[in-house]
């Protein structure tokens, strides 16, 4: 009993901070989502679920949701595969420490730095990408101003940025796999591909689950790259839910009530996806 009390005493500062800075804002956001709260408006009144029903009619919210879903689906495969391939290549070899650092470096940059760098790289007039295309006699493109390529450019930027992070996670997972299993497989005459399929992949499943879940949650919260690279454009071609929410909350009349409703709708979507993923992959992760 005394031990428990001491434990709670030690936990108390952390819990207090968690409640004040996490739980309270969450609940306050939920309360605001049922009001017409707006900064500068003295009288706030409850509007029931009006903010939520308005989302059903808000076509730009629907576009944002569709764009976010597209980004999530389209970026998951490269984020899953590219770091894995690199991790397999860098799991051994003389230069692995140096190369790991090289690949991890972009992740140490802030999203704004990454965004501004790629903004310049992809600049349609003075950017190096188009310069080399022209030099090679190929047609230049407005990567970020063309609705057909803008989202793909954002995906490429993100993959470049986060690959190093997931690479480190995969490497940790790979090093956890007992070497004896590979030796036994080799003795049985298993090929490299067979070892990968029958040993590496199944034993990496918890890591894969982690990568997929964290990436999908992060994808639904996509904001920084879009904000810097395209501002949601061209038109609304790369507009995401969080950007829509941000604009409602901090650009257009500070509509905190409406923006809170969007945030909770987004939370519901992420929650559903997460439950779905855990259900899908649970039971296959033990070995």
């Amino acid at each position: 009993m005394r031990q428990t009390r001491t434990a709670y005493l030690f936990l108390a500062p952390g819990l207090a901070l968690f409640v004040v800075f996490r739980v309270y804002p969450l609940l306050e956001g939920l309360r605001l989502s049922f009001t017409n709260a707006r900064l500068g408006r003295a009288a706030v009144r409850y509007v029931g679920i009006a903010n939520y029903t308005r989302l059903l009619e808000d076509t730009r919210f629907h576009v944002s949701l569709a764009n976010t879903a597209f980004y999530t689906v389209a970026s998951t495969l490269p984020v899953l595969v590219i770091p894995l391939v690199l991790a397999l290549a860098l799991n051994r070899g003389a230069l692995r420490t140096v190369l790991r650092s090289v690949f991890f470096f972009p992740f140490t940059l802030s999203v704004v730095t990454v965004g501004l760098t790629w903004l310049w790289l992809l600049d349609p007039v003075v950017g190096p990408f188009n310069y080399y295309l022209r030099t090679a006699g190929l047609p230049a493109r407005s990567w970020l101003a063309d609705p057909a390529t803008a989202m793909w450019a954002i995906i490429a930027t993100t993959v470049w940025w986060v690959t190093g992070y997931y690479l480190v996670i995969y490497l940790a997972g790979l090093q956890d796999i007992p070497r004896e299993l590979y030796e036994a497989a080799a003795l049985d005459g298993a090929s490299g591909w067979r070892s990968f399929r029958s040993i590496t992949l199944p034993l990496l499943r918890p890591v894969l689950l982690f990568v997929v879940v964290t990436h999908i949650i992060g994808s639904f919260q996509l904001f920084g790259q879009v904000f810097v690279l395209t501002g949601g454009g061209p038109g609304d071609a790369t507009r995401t839910v969080v950007q829509h929410l941000y604009e409602a909350a901090f650009q257009n009349f500070f509509q905190f009530g409406a923006a809170s409703a969007m945030a909770w709708a987004l939370f519901a979507v992420i929650l559903l996806f997460s439950i779905f993923q855990f259900r899908l992959l649970r039971g296959h992760t033990e070995y």
Partner: protein, 422 residues
């Protein structure tokens, strides 16, 4: 001979110390009392910010009033004002754009300024250009005082236009006098990665200030005159939107929607460029060979977009007379030294006083900017203006990139403006 010990006794020392304190304290207090220090927020993040720093240093040296500046990008500044002022954490003085006055005033962020105070501080309407003076008024009350007038200007890249043989018999650059002329001349320039015409500094596709300029030239606007309904579906507005959509797609004279037009102009890849007056000092620093002309009349009227900077007083938690007086002193000082601001920051003053300064009229760019004064127009005085601008941005971008036809986009924009909350 006095046999007493000449050394100071303890009691004597204490008495002397107390007496000295009593006598000297008021004098010390007077001498050490600092003049008021005020906080001043602005969005002068470019080269003009450095000029403001230097002028503020001089102001402090002359008046003893210290100014703590906070410089943020304009959008961040406005968001910060909106949240800080209700919390009682706003600055004593803020520099804002004219179109921000109505919504800040409507939300109680700004304090009204009565005419008696304005007159008492020596500011008179007749000393200002009308559009700038009137920009500080919302629903009959004054909320701000104008400093200067950022505005559009036509920049011409000498090297690019000479190469395109757009030079008259007098060896001066040819200036387009109409929309058709502009398109024809820009087509003469456009080839490869060089563009004939652009409007806007960066991201020309969503450059609302350029779109507004063209709307105003065609007698159109975002809101109807009663400010209650959108006017972007009016035929004049649709005509502008059609032209906007044709620039890059049909005429193929303008850079892509997300281009950095300033970089393109500096790199010699852009011929004619309508952009803000704040660009010219940077072009001079970069030693770009350029000439300027008034914004050409591309539609019915020779209107020039302008957006005066205004001094405003965010509502304080508790009134502080000394700080307010200090803020007034600064506004007065800047207004009296506005010629230097104009010459070094490149922004022509709202006050007419400096307009005759030979150094200003002797500068070809400043002279051109002043010459446009009769054509200046500002955004409509409604609290919804800025929010309407925010929803306009992606819509005109979709027109510029050819994602949507002008009419459908403007219909959508009208719906969005109608749906803006009160």
């Amino acid at each position: 001979m006095d046999a007493r010990d000449p050394r100071v006794t303890r009691r004597g020392f204490l008495t002397g110390a107390v007496a000295a304190t009593v006598i000297l304290e008021p004098a010390r207090r007077t001498a050490a009392q600092p003049k008021a220090a005020i906080t001043y927020w602005n969005g002068l993040t470019g080269a003009d910010g450095k000029v403001m720093d230097e002028l503020i240093d001089r102001f402090t040296a002359e008046t003893g009033i210290r100014i703590e500046q906070q410089r943020l990008p304009w959008a961040d500044l406005y968001a910060k004002l909106q949240v800080s002022v209700p919390a009682g954490e706003g600055p004593d003085l803020a520099l804002i754009h004219t179109v921000e006055v109505p919504h800040f005033a409507n939300d109680g962020v700004l304090e009204p300024i009565d005419d008696a105070t304005v007159g008492g501080k020596g500011f008179r309407a007749e000393e200002y250009l009308p559009a700038t003076w009137q920009g500080g008024v919302f629903q009959g009350k004054r909320y701000s005082l104008p400093l200067d007038v950022p505005q559009h200007l036509l920049y011409m890249n000498v090297k690019v236009l000479r190469e395109a043989k757009l030079v008259g018999p007098d060896s001066r650059l040819k200036i387009p006098a109409s929309r058709d002329e502009l398109v024809t001349m820009a087509k003469q320039v456009a080839k490869g990665d060089t563009f004939g015409f652009a409007i806007g500094t960066v991201n020309p596709g969503k450059y609302t200030w350029g779109f507004h300029n063209l709307l105003w030239q065609n007698g159109a606007n975002i809101f109807a005159p009663d400010l209650k309904r959108p006017a972007v579906m009016d035929p004049a507005a649709l005509e502008v939107a059609e032209f906007w959509g044709a620039l890059a797609n049909q005429h193929k004279i303008a850079p892509p929607a997300n281009a950095n037009c300033r970089d393109a102009f500096t790199a010699g890849k852009l011929g004619y460029w309508i952009a803000g007056s704040w660009n010219f000092t940077g072009l001079r620093e970069a030693k770009v060979e350029f000439a300027v002309a008034p914004v050409p009349r591309l539609f019915k009227h020779a209107v020039v977009w302008s957006m005066p900077h205004q001094y405003s007083f965010p509502k304080p938690k508790t009134a502080d007379r000394a700080k307010r007086e200090a803020a007034w002193t600064h506004i007065r000082w800047m207004t009296d030294h506005v010629a230097e601001w104009t010459l070094r920051a490149g922004q022509v003053s709202a006050s007419r006083k400096a307009h005759g300064d030979p150094r200003i009229v002797g500068d070809p760019v400043l002279k051109t900017l002043l010459g446009q004064a009769g054509s200046w127009q500002v955004g409509q005085s409604t609290p919804k203006w800025v929010a309407a601008e925010n929803v306009t941005r992606p819509v005109i971008d979709s027109v510029y990139t050819g994602q949507r036809p002008a009419r459908a986009a403007m219909e959508d924009l009208a719906k969005q403006i109608t749906a803006l909350p009160d």
